[in-house]
Symmetry: D2
Subunit: 346 residues, 4 copies
């Protein structure tokens, strides 16, 4: 049994980790921290998990420093995770850090998107970017992995085959996101009377997660814009990329490209070309699972392409990819605890 500590367990990603770990079988949650909730039962924050953690209490970060464990998940705010990561590593724990602190490997890129004063470069160098589909081999031997940005993941799983083939001349992507992306803390924008059924274009051209796509797709910043739009959903991201291809292609060749790229992947799936109403992924079809769906259509001109992906932002976009990475880092079956089927219709 791998003993797991969750740092920062009151947020939505923390809650999802707890849900996944309750059904894992090979990992055991030995402690969950919360500065504000220390001493209170987990279920006061995560009432749906009361039968799974009937007695467990949040502990303070100070107490957690002394807990014997094998692996730590850090679900802490950006900027506050990397010092904890360092200390955990020093104590011999493996670490998966869901924050953005360790995701961007280039110091200049990191500073440009997140400002100065973040994690030291040597710590970042030690971290593997935690998207197993792109870094499986590195994760297998690692003791430190970053998490992934949920929007970045929606982009990366959809576009990596095209990026590797050098086909992306220009990408104008949009992520349509549910309210859980904004986290568990109340805000004016997230207040139900204003957020319900909103179609709110939050950002016209950029979002921090873009940086992870630039890194992982090895893409020039001038080729990519990312529009962020809030829609009526709690969970889920749908990414739709209006693409201009670098050269004219045939649809059959795109199918080959994607099939090859997704071959053997347990969590990445192409949507079928027909019937047409199933051609493009809807986040509802992955709800509650670690799956990512990708679909596309090519314009008659052979240059304009629409690629659409869908993930559950709290799972494949956060806790799920983190657990998948942790499985690899600890030598377990990558799929352990993640063998969940989407809850549909819901």
């Amino acid at each position: 049994m791998i003993r797991v500590v969750i740092w920062g367990g009151t947020g939505l990603a923390g809650g999802e980790l707890l849900r996944l770990l309750a059904g894992h079988g090979g990992m055991e949650v030995v402690a969950v921290t919360s500065r504000r909730r220390a001493g209170q039962p987990l279920w006061t924050v995560h009432p749906h998990l009361r039968p799974d953690y009937p007695e467990m209490l949040f502990i303070s970060p100070d107490e957690a420093e002394a807990v014997e464990a094998d692996l730590a998940f850090l679900a802490l705010p950006h900027g506050s995770a990397f010092p904890v990561a360092s200390r955990c590593l020093d104590r011999g724990l493996k670490v998966v850090d869901l924050s953005a602190d360790l995701r961007l490997h280039d110091g200049a890129l990191r500073a440009a998107w997140y400002g100065a004063g973040g994690a030291p470069q040597e710590l970042v160098d030690r971290a593997v970017y935690g998207l197993p589909e792109l870094h499986r081999d590195e994760l297998a031997g690692a003791d430190l992995a970053s998490g992934v940005g949920c929007n970045a993941t929606a982009l990366n799983v959809a576009l990596f085959p095209l990026a590797r083939a050098g086909l992306l001349e220009e990408v104008r992507a949009e992520c349509r996101v549910g309210s859980s992306e904004g986290g568990a803390t109340p805000s004016e924008g997230g207040h139900h009377p204003f957020r319900s059924r909103a179609l709110r274009v939050i950002e016209p051209f950029r979002h921090r997660h873009m940086a992870e796509a630039l890194q992982e797709l090895n893409l020039d910043a001038a080729r990519l814009t990312l529009t962020m739009t809030a829609v009526e959903l709690v969970r889920g991201i749908q990414m739709a990329a209006q693409i201009r291809l670098a050269e004219k292609v045939r649809e059959a060749d795109l199918w080959k490209l994607y099939r090859r790229a997704f071959d053997g992947e347990f969590f990445l799936h192409l949507t079928p070309a027909r019937p047409s109403h199933l051609r493009f992924p809807d986040p509802r079809l992955v709800l509650g699972s670690n799956r990512a769906l990708v679909g596309f259509a090519l314009h008659d001109d052979g240059r304009r392409l629409l690629v659409v992906s869908a993930i559950d932002n709290l799972i494949k976009g956060a806790a799920g990819s983190a657990l998948q990475s942790a499985n690899l880092m600890t030598g377990l079956d990558e799929r352990r605890g993640l063998d969940l089927r989407p809850c549909y219709p819901a």
Copy 2:
């Protein structure tokens, strides 16, 4: 043109008043106060009304004390409205106070539900309860009216015919309410990830608005319980009352009772006995209007009755009834500015 000041114009009821008054024609908004937003355009808080109030700025309460006007609507928090009401009356304005400060006429009842230290009895005595359907004649000559509790209104319009007939032996009512009832201020319970699609039983047996129903229906407290349940809606209340009648009745007699009570009422409507899918009111069918719908069904035993009502809580349950009262108080057609048809389906 009647010159109107709105005290406390940043909330949802204030916004709805502004919407109604923009189309009124006989009243002119000359000032809107906000302590926190003074100096900012109205539309930063009520963006949907930017074409209607393109230049108007919130002013501070201090400035408002000096504004020349004929009538004041108070959309202030409970406890802070009555002193403003007094000062406005002293300056010769008519006042409609949407807060709860002046709704309950019995001092003991008021203290029991809202605590000590509220409005002085002589001020309360001067106020007419602002539900025109029950107090039309008194409002016509009044210079001070209270507002109405939205849940109380859903109860009162549905039950007054039965109450007057002495038929209510026991009422177990439930109000199913949208998120706008909780106001514009963010809260954990109103945060979209937690509030969306919620079916949250907030109170099993009582709610402050019950006191207004006890007063207006002249009902003994032991006969009424009020369950409050939050549902997936922004606007709207559906009240469903499971009633035990004091005596066995025939359905035809209930129809007569209700038809007589609603006769000539512009804003109260009975739903038809059939087709059965239209038998009970749905708040969607009054959205954006000042209408109240009431429907019922009698059990074969002639004693168990289900009465259902629906209102738009921000209109008939707040700003609409307030404007209707103000129309009566200023000698205008009661319907002025309220001739709105429900937006359906929406």
Copy 3:
């Protein structure tokens, strides 16, 4: 490996069975029938399960008669299931019939609620009512089980402790139900522009599922009414029962009663008395799981009680209870394939 046939696999309950069975491990779906869809891939109807059943096609009922199997789930329309049940039993299969054909054991009750011409009494006599929490021992040795009505289940799990204690003087229950209760076939009432955010009181006092509650709670029909209200949900039922107790009780005694009744039950859970916002069950807290939540509050008068329950209608209210019964009938761990945690917030 227990070989399973699903009769009528295109509906929502059929889809949910397929989802549960894909993760079961001890049962294998060998055939799924559809008269209309025979020859088409399962995933054209259940697109979320394409990775789980990539190649499987629907077969016709005629073909299914010849399939070698150990157990059949019948997800067929009422009235058409019992002949299939008979034939399957004759061929030596165990049968779980999700339809209403075999739920009511008293012939008069059955005729009153479903009309004449249904299943022969000897077949009904052979069937165990498929709610394991009430019929665990009988199910263990059975070869035929009925399914459960979803609304009946919401009532039964909530009220059986009170019923057994003889405390139910009068129950006025309401089920607030999501659109999935209406099935997969389009209808005017289920059309999104009309169904979205509806608060539609469908039935004031009765619903067919009431008959199952009368049977299982051993309750006199005059003591129970069931109001049915459609709310904005896809999955989920919240049952709220306004109860008059037969005698005055203390809250502590009710807690004892419920704790004893739920003791050792894996899928039945009480909600905590506090914090108050968690006191009553919300269907969101069981979404995607086989769990039922029950909570209550007692009025100061010791006689008026509010009991609330929540289930996922497609799981505990249909496919989940059916699979739980099947596990018992085949000697497997009752929880097999049902160890799912709610997907929250979603």
Copy 4:
């Protein structure tokens, strides 16, 4: 009083016309047709309008041919409207045809998008395209106007200033649409369990309404794609256009261009540049009104532009523009019956 007949009054556009006309004051509905519902009260189909049309019955199309009237609105299916239009014109009525029959003036374009066998060219030549903001002067003298496609309207109001300035090199637009766009007839795709919270990309690159945008914007087909995506809304369209401009521009110049184009328009409004959360239009901010909102952001490169618009598809995208046209055709104030403020938050 202008006497109005509505042909085809059971659909959503017909219902919205009835709502608008009930508050118009200068037009009187004298007849509403329905082949299937003839003899039934209007309110069985439009229950929210029962107080407005308490007694009126649908009449058959045959009866309607003999009704004395001044103007006809045709809310009939495509292909069946133009013969009625002809006959009404012959009888001296003015006609506004909400169907697509008369929208496209070029015969080849019409045939390409709607097939052969439509309206005769001379009838089409007589019709003015019914978007008053682009054809106000022609409508003033017309006796025949087409309606507008709702998606076309979302495109046209947003892009006409750029099109006239020759700035549109390439437009990749998306309309995110509510379920009311699909009409009142139940369908599998519109069934609530499947449609609720859907993010369904229906068409990757084209939709019939595109043809109207090509015509009205005088745009080459190769420059425009239109993605159609169904979202969780009943009413409303948000159009988001990812544009490549023909030349590098400054943001200040775009503001001038748009301000000039929208100057004096009662129903077209620009959203403010800041605060940033109000920069882009959300359909919620026009719900229930005839308003269109348009906002934009220019990328730092001066070439990539995002333009977003929002309308209520049943009003500005259908019944509202039709009534606005009818007002102009009959010499009334264009705004008559359309002075409605958005219902927000709702």
